[in-house]
């Protein structure tokens, strides 16, 4: 089985409150924030690895392969390299500026990559935590006319690898869908919980550690020898015109911190007479 994961490089999401707005609201400045892989894409890599390995022995299932693809500046290679250190086999980087992309163009570019790579599954994060637009996976599925499941919290691959049962986190509960491969899946946070991925190779008793795996030094060193193929995005032959145009950025109005109350009695008093919410 072949899996393709898309990965976006984002500015350190835990410090997104330190972004600045460039002169005249023209640009979001992330200077000083460490670039990191979009966390949901890291989870997509983790989920993919769990699909193609025996969790207990860490042996790769024969014939299975994981490719990571990214669209972005040259420096994105560092983030791809992280995914290779986790266990992905190779990387593709289509070079462009972040400003020259929107969700629609990423989806159309990805569709071209899928045509060339012919994976059985494409796994994406449900959203990139910089743009927060939550659209690429859905758009890709529609472009490819492949079955899909977004916001996945669980994936169970059938023993013959022809179908997958996906649990989707939605308002009010969890929906289960059965997809016939090839298919598109976007992953939510819970996809990296200990038993969220079932591939009928990893023993049913085995529990993964919560979260994406750590990369030990030998894997980091090995990743340096794994191939990352770089090409300009134009080489995909897509129309690079954007369907959305950002005209201005601003910081949101800051919320003033309030007061500390000394005890529950004072809190209740304030809620009643000052805030009038009691």
């Amino acid at each position: 089985m072949k899996i393709l994961v898309s990965l976006k490089r984002t500015a350190d999401p835990d410090n997104a409150n330190k972004i600045k707005i460039g002169a005249g609201g023209a640009k979001i400045e992330t200077t000083g924030l460490e670039p990191k892989a979009n966390p949901f894409d890291e989870y997509a890599v983790e989920a993919s690895l769990r699909l193609i390995e025996n969790g207990q022995t860490k042996a790769r299932n024969a014939g299975d392969k994981l490719t990571v693809v990214s669209f972005g500046p040259k420096e994105t290679a560092t983030s791809i390299r992280q995914a290779l250190a986790m266990g992905a086999d190779d990387g593709l980087l289509y070079v462009t500026d972040d400003e020259s992309l929107d969700g629609d163009l990423v989806a159309r570019s990805l569709a071209k990559v899928v045509e060339a790579q012919k994976p059985d599954l494409v796994i994406l994060g449900k959203q990139a935590v910089d743009g927060d637009s939550n659209q690429v996976g859905q758009a890709l599925a529609e472009l490819l006319q492949w079955p899909s499941a977004t916001f996945a919290m669980s994936v169970e691959l059938s023993a013959d690898k022809k179908t997958a049962i996906v649990g989707r986190e939605v308002d009010g509960g969890v929906v289960k869908l059965k997809l016939t491969l090839p298919a598109v899946i976007t992953v939510d946070l819970r996809i990296v919980s200990p038993k969220s991925v079932v591939n009928h190779v990893t023993p049913a008793t085995f529990n993964y550690a919560d979260g994406a795996r750590f990369t030990p030094l030998p894997m980091i060193i090995k990743a340096k020898t794994k191939p990352i193929v770089e090409a300009p995005i134009a080489s995909l032959g897509v129309d690079v015109a954007l369907k959305s145009k950002y005209v201005e950025f601003a910081l949101p109005p800051a919320r003033k911190g309030g007061v500390k109350v000394k005890d529950v009695a004072e809190l209740v008093e304030k809620l009643r007479s000052e805030a009038k919410v009691l």
Binding site: P13, A16, N17, I19, I28, F40, G103, D104, K126, Q127, V129, D130, G131, D132, S133, N134, Q138, A139, A141, E142, P147, S148, A149, F151, I165, E169, V170, D171, G172, G173, V175, L177, K178, T180, A183, L189, R190, S193, K243, S244, K245, Y246, V247, E248, F249, A250, P252, R255, G257, G258, K260, V261, D263, V264, A265, L267, V268, A275, V277, L278
Partner: protein, 322 residues
Amino acid sequence: MSKILVIAEVAGAKLRKTTLSAITFARNSGLPFDLLVVGHNVGAAAEDLRADGAGVVKVADDASLANYVAEAFTPTVAEAAKGYAVVAVTASSFGKDLAPRVAVRLGAGLASDISAVEASGGALTYRRPMYAGNANAKMQITTAVQVVSARQSEFAAAAPSGGASPVEKVAVVANPLAGRVEFLGFDEVKSARPDLAEAGTVVAGGRSLKSADGFKTVLEPLVDVFGAAMGASRAAVDAGYVPNDLQVGQTGKVVAPKLYIAVGISGAIQHVAGMKNSKVIVAINKDPEAPIFQLADYGLVADLFKAVPELTDAVKKVRAEG
């Protein structure tokens, strides 16, 4: 004349209140709008929408649409959307899933999870939060047809405007992928409490409640004395203390109630993204340096296991006194 098509959201054939936010979006845009209800046995849901000011309430009713599956809904929605300038839906899990696909079908650009719309000179400009709400962007769509998903917490539920829009049946377009995606079931989390996205008060708990039992015995009495909805941090959800769909934050639900009480929640930026637009924020945390205090109107530095039962009793008393 350019018009908006608002997609209603139904669950189990019943209209979801989320729909009323997309209607507010349409009203704020200043363009005339129609409504589209897709599902099975949704006659009553369509009836409910007749007084909201739509030109027409369109209905696509078919057994194949009984459960929401993107592949089944998209062709029907896209077909009904032909001729409209804007297709709008609320950015619930339904709207977030559906909107990008409809956009692809229509060759339209997408403005997702927007918080405001401005109409000027015949063009619509959208505002949308980015970077976990740490930037507000103004954007426009460059294609003739535009698809929009509107954030429920920023578009208040529309009140009926009177009148009685005519109801009109529209075609159901077969799902080309019917054989390759199968709906197996919906595991619903049933709760007697108000919906998180609609509640006037939200009481949310974090990892510090330590267990499902902690939520039950310590937090729930406070939730109920307020008649509030219960929320949680990611850490509490990941630990399995409460169901997934209670998660408040950048990647969970975005809420803006009149009162938000954060109990034992540190205030990570991803959590703050989902609640900072609440009117009044109360934080109870034993760490005086917890970031949540930077935005709380009222902060109480205390052990929650002591403070929450005390607060529950005190609120009960106030309520009893009227």
